[in-house]
């Protein structure tokens, strides 16, 4: 976690395997232009066909790809590496991180084309996994190929600069003259650039991350980048919120014979703020927990461990592809309460998600399962929701 401990961490692997070695981090960067500098935009009324300028209007600011080569042992995490870069090379690199051990869900990004947490991915993982990546993700990418969705798939790999530059869009890189000297590869390799309609052929061949020891890091797809690797998560939380992600237990008599909340409120009202009196009252008429068996708990326990990191959203071709879909994270949040025996609104919850942009939008691609850091089989849970809704 603390990457100052570089020298002393390691794995059980042989010494040579755990020795620090040079690794290049190729990071998609973006600095938004300050609002005050933004000129007034074009007059919409003047545009007879707003589609004409497709791709010309992007988030305003400067985009570039920057490479950093540092020495780091392969058993360290990518977060360790980025923190080392912040400390030693470039304090302007921005990315979210907090707990450093996979609990807070802050640091979801795209690493070598794969949605992952910075603190969960080790350097060794990144360098070895890149070879197997394509098989794992190519199919979902293709499945996302709704012709109207001009976004390239999340999983579409670039790096094959030739394939990309062949269809390059000059507008996308109008700022390239301001890019720092650090970039030494084609700036056109922006795999998620919507203005670059990458063909599916881009999927077939990947570059050789393993040989060159390059780790490519980009913002999580499906989310708007705000600065460097920091994305806007509001949309995800709005969708989670939409399905009332909180326990609604209507029938207290079933358990304790008395509404805890009502009694609580009465007491608060009566004794205003005397917690001792409240506690005494509670002692005479003890409120009780809602009862639940270990088996009932097991039906939603894993679902309740979701940390809302958004990896499943970034992996979902429907969501990240830009379809109208609340997204797997919102579905999991809903499922957590649908399966909680204490909740009284299972039926309403099922109805709420049974919408065109709810569970109906899921095409059972199951790309959402693989990246889940909590081990939730998101795809399977989504399928269970589909079935539950049918009933």
């Amino acid at each position: 976690m603390t990457s100052q401990s570089t020298e002393s961490d390691g794995s059980k692997a042989s010494a040579s395997d755990s020795d620090p070695r040079p690794v290049t981090f190729r990071i998609a960067r973006f600095t938004p232009r300050p609002q005050s500098e933004r000129p007034a935009r074009i007059n919409p009324f003047a545009k007879s066909n707003p589609f004409a300028a497709a791709g010309s209007r992007r988030a305003r600011g400067r985009r570039w790809t920057q490479e950093y080569t540092i020495r780091i042992a392969p058993q360290h995490t990518v977060l360790d590496a980025l923190l080392q870069i912040k400390r030693e090379a470039d304090p302007t690199l921005n990315f979210r991180y907090s707990c450093g051990h996979g609990m807070c869900g802050s640091d979801a990004v795209l690493i070598n084309g794969r949605p992952d947490l910075l603190c969960a991915a080790t350097i060794a993982d990144c360098l070895s996994a890149s070879k197997t990546m394509l098989n794992a993700y190519a199919s979902p990418g293709v499945a996302a190929g709704n012709p109207q969705v001009q976004q390239p798939s999340v999983f579409r790999r670039t790096g094959t600069a030739a394939a990309v530059t062949g269809v390059s869009s000059s507008a996308a890189h109008s700022n390239s003259d301001t890019e720092p000297s650090a970039t030494n590869h084609s700036e056109a390799s922006d795999p998620t650039d919507p203005s670059v309609p990458i063909e599916a052929t881009g999927l077939t061949k990947t570059p050789d991350y393993a040989e060159t020891s390059v780790v490519e890091i980009r913002p999580l797809p499906g989310f708007t980048p705000l600065r460097d690797l920091i994305v806007d998560t509001d949309a995800m939380f709005e969708q989670i919120r939409r399905f009332k992600p909180y326990l609604l237990h209507d029938d207290p008599s079933a358990d304790s014979g008395q509404s805890h909340r009502e009694s609580d409120q009465r007491q608060t009202h009566d004794s205003q703020l005397d917690p001792l009196a409240k506690a005494k009252a509670a002692n005479t008429e003890p409120a009780s927990e809602y009862k639940q068996t270990p088996e009932e708990l097991a039906r939603y326990e894993l679902l309740s461990t979701c940390i809302a990191c958004g990896l499943c959203q970034g992996a979902c071709p429907i969501y990240a592809g830009g379809e109208a879909f609340a997204g797997p994270a919102a579905m999991i949040a809903a499922a957590r309460f649908i399966n909680d025996s204490r909740d009284s609104h299972r039926q309403e919850r099922l109805e709420a998600i049974d919408q065109v942009d709810g569970i109906q939008a899921c095409q059972s691609i199951r790309a959402c399962t693989r990246p889940c850091p909590r081990g939730i089989d998101v795809g399977e849970e989504m399928w269970k929701l589909v079935e539950a809704v049918k009933e």
């Binding site: 499906g222 909180y246 830009g322």
Partner: protein, 747 residues
């Protein structure tokens, strides 16, 4: 983030198959919703900057609504799901925009808006800083108390929760083991025993009236949390399951008792999420990723009063803009300060902001020299391995394989209080019986083994999934067969902002508590004090939830009473603070353009960069934080003496000099993490000085503070709370002894 309200936009709709499309231009002049005659739609459109839009539209010949995909990178082409003339289809829409003149219009807080307020009011009834267990509990306590008050005004309370992280990112979510309460679900328990254990654990430095509240009301808090949705582990008879936890005993120091209610080993995650969920239910308003830079407190008018909190200066990190917020009630719930140390279980965000704000506002901190080191941090990462790992059967062993805790704490063994275990580990290491981290066999022998091989594999997976996963992932070991290297890791600050048991912040002046009007605190950043010199496991979540709730209730009561509009105070102190902070921010950002370019050209010597920890190479807050962590570790971690503390203070002088030179390396204020980090470093340095000076003043060993030059507890002189301010003035506040006179503390 701030949503930018469009004043004009053009929407062009067409079906997914491109059958047809039509254009709508809506001029929005005063509000987000409303009928727009001539267009036949009711429309709401909010766009985030850059590029996300929310649109709902109904009526006319088209109904669209719902989610518009966020773009990477954003584009103006958006997809709407909706129903129109052309059937139930996915429509595409293109948004063209006009930038509004002047400030964005406000729609108030509408559920369709982003997670952040559309417009920050300049004045709130209450502002809660921090959104972990304490902050969210305060919000819930406040809302629920107002709800239950039949006479409350129909206007909803103006309450804002400001947090530097999205609430679910709070470090509460990393708490693993349990939350203590004498529910007695699995064996007989009594809150009096919990009361006693907590006081004994505190080494008799806790205020007993506060501990009494903690122990007595704990069961009610657990029930409330369960009703809020916490997925507690269950007994076969459907009750909340409980496990043993260090220092919790039956019958006043008898055998260990099952008192910690748990949810596998992720109780913190469960509590954090449940509290957040309930806040959503009640419509609590959040301002996420806002950083509070200043707390403005009027100085006391005389010796009888404690002053009055006026407001806050906050940095909206998304906009990169500062703002003054006036608030009748301010609650600091910012958590701990583990980042004072290099090896810590705390997240990178626990930089003691609230405590430093209090110091900088001229207030005192209480008992800050007491910092708990959790005995079982994983290897050199500091990541916490829950006490549950020992509660479920894990044993600490030295290099000879001996389960040494039986030597130090007979009868309690591996479940003795945390400070005892941490010191015992250090004693073993000092005696040459430590082990090296297997990943670095040639490194220092500064760990001991945690032996979990005696725990059945299935049981381990069921009860300690988080611990097991952490060991797998970060040590590459299998705890069912491998011994795991552990060492003490900075875990919890027992001290903090002094509060009454109602959550009110006070000054200790001439032997009296003088309330600071309008200022509250709860959770780890506060000091009630229920933890005294050492906190028992399972009591921190309890403290945060219980005293957070009480604080919310206190504020609700104050709000209902205070019908008369708050005195029209002079807001000039707030304005001045804003100007001062703005100048500071401008200077930081100006440094970027003066000095190095915003993106420093990477030098050729990158290969050497990784081991160039000699600091001077690049003066940035991240490197400085690392230096501070090492300094504090040498000065006061687990043990200290006058020499180590004074050396630390001298080192701090140098760090403070270097900190004054810090500036940003990018001039863009938006989401400039380095700017925040510079202010965090300032906070850490402020706090570090207080910690070192308080440690120096307390010439005894008690609880988590072990001074090797004063190894004994000294009740005659130091049965008192340290009250220290930024001027390093120390005064002593007597401990509230109610029921239990100080005794020896043997584990």
């Amino acid at each position: 983030m701030n949503a930018l309200i469009l004043q004009q936009l053009t929407l062009t709709f067409r079906t997914a198959k491109g059958e047809s499309w039509r254009q709508r231009t809506i001029a929005e002049d005063h509000a987000m919703t409303g009928n727009h005659p001539g267009f036949g739609v009711v429309m709401k459109c909010i766009t985030h900057e850059p590029g996300v839009a929310w649109v709902t539209s109904q009526g006319g010949d088209l109904t669209v609504g719902g989610y518009l995909a966020a773009r990477d990178p954003p584009d103006d082409l958006i997809h709407l799901l909706g129903e129109g003339k052309f059937g139930h289809k996915i429509y595409s829409a293109r948004v063209s925009r006009h930038e509004p003149e002047g400030p964005p219009l406000s729609t108030g807080c509408d559920s369709i808006n982003g997670m952040n307020p559309q417009k920050v009011r300049s004045r709130y009834d209450a502002v809660i800083v921090g959104a972990g267990a304490a902050g969210l509990s305060t919000a819930l306590g406040l809302y629920r108390a107002l709800e239950s008050d039949g006479n409350r005004n129909d206007s909803s309370p103006k309450v804002l929760v400001v947090s530097k992280l999205q609430p679910l990112r709070s470090h509460t979510g990393s708490a693993e083991g349990g939350i203590a309460a004498s529910l007695g679900n699995q064996e007989k328990d009594d809150w009096h025993w919990h009361y006693y254990d907590t006081i004994k654990g505190s080494d008799w430095l806790a205020d007993q009236d506060a501990v009494r509240i903690l122990a007595e009301q704990a069961p009610g808090i657990i029930i409330e949390l369960e009703h809020d949705g916490v997925a507690f582990s269950r007994t076969e008879d459907r009750h909340i399951a409980q496990r043993k936890f260090g220092g919790h005993t039956a019958d006043y120091g008898g055998h260990p008792v099952r008192r910690a209610a748990y949810a596998a080993d992720r109780i913190g995650h469960q509590i954090l999420h449940a509290l957040w969920q309930q806040c959503l239910r009640l419509g609590v308003e959040f301002a996420e990723e806002w950083y509070v830079t200043d707390l403005v407190v009027d100085p006391p008018a005389d010796e009888e009063t404690g002053g009055h909190a006026r407001g806050l200066i906050v940095l909206d990190t998304h906009a990169g803009k500062l703002q003054a917020i006036q608030a009748d009630n301010i609650v600091l719930c910012t958590g701990g300060a583990g980042r004072l140390f290099h090896t810590t279980s705390n997240s990178w965000d626990l930089t003691g902001d609230g405590m430093a704000l209090a110091l900088q506002a001229g207030l005192q901190l209480e008992d800050v020299e007491f910092i708990q080191f959790h005995p079982t941090g994983l290897g050199h990462t500091g990541i916490l391995l829950s006490e549950a790992s020992r509660a479920e059967g894990g044993v600490l062993r030295n290099s000879q394989g001996r389960a040494f805790m039986q030597d130090y704490a007979p009868g309690h063994g591996d479940l003795a209080a945390r400070d005892v275990v941490s010191r015992s580990i250090m004693a073993e290491i000092d005696a040459g019986r430590g082990v090296a981290d297997p990943s670095d066999p040639d490194g220092p022998h500064d760990c001991v083994w945690l032996d979990m091989t005696g725990i059945d594999g299935q049981r381990m997976t069921a009860l300690l999934p988080q611990v097991t996963e952490t060991i797998h992932r970060y040590a590459h070991l299998d705890p069912t067969v491998d011994m795991v290297p552990v060492k003490p890791t900075a875990h919890y600050t027992m001290g903090g902002i002094p509060i009454t048991d109602r959550g009110r912040v006070y000054r200790w002046q001439n032997g009296h508590r003088r309330i600071v009007d309008g200022l509250f605190a709860a959770g780890e950043c506060s000091c009630v004090s229920v933890h005294g010199a050492n906190r028992l496991g399972g009591n921190s979540l309890l403290d945060a939830c219980l005293f957070g709730t009480r604080t919310g209730q206190t504020i609700a009561a104050a709000m209902t009473k205070a019908d008369e509009p708050n005195d029209t105070t002079d807001t000039s102190p707030l304005t001045q603070a804003l100007q001062k902070r703005q100048a500071f921010l401008d200077e930081l950002l100006a440094g970027a353009s003066n000095g190095e370019s915003s993106e420093p050209a990477l030098a050729d010597d990158q290969d050497e960069a990784s081991d160039s920890d000699d600091d001077a190479t690049l003066n940035n807050p991240y490197a400085l934080m690392g230096r501070l962590g090492r300094l504090m570790e040498e000065a006061v971690a687990v043990r200290c003496d006058q020499g180590s503390i004074e050396k630390g203070l001298r080192g701090l002088d140098q760090l403070e000099t270097d900190a004054k030179q810090l500036h940003a390396h990018s001039e863009t204020a938006v989401l400039n993490q380095e700017v925040t980090a510079i202010m965090e470093v300032d906070n850490l340095l402020t706090l570090a000085r207080a910690v070192l000076n308080a440690s120096l003043q307390r010439q005894e060993s008690r609880g988590a503070l072990y001074r090797s030059d004063y190894p004994q507890r000294d009740d005659e002189h130091y049965l008192a709370h340290t009250m220290i301010d930024a001027k390093e003035d120390v005064s002593w506040q007597p401990v509230h002894i109610v029921d239990m006179p100080p005794k020896g503390r043997n584990y």
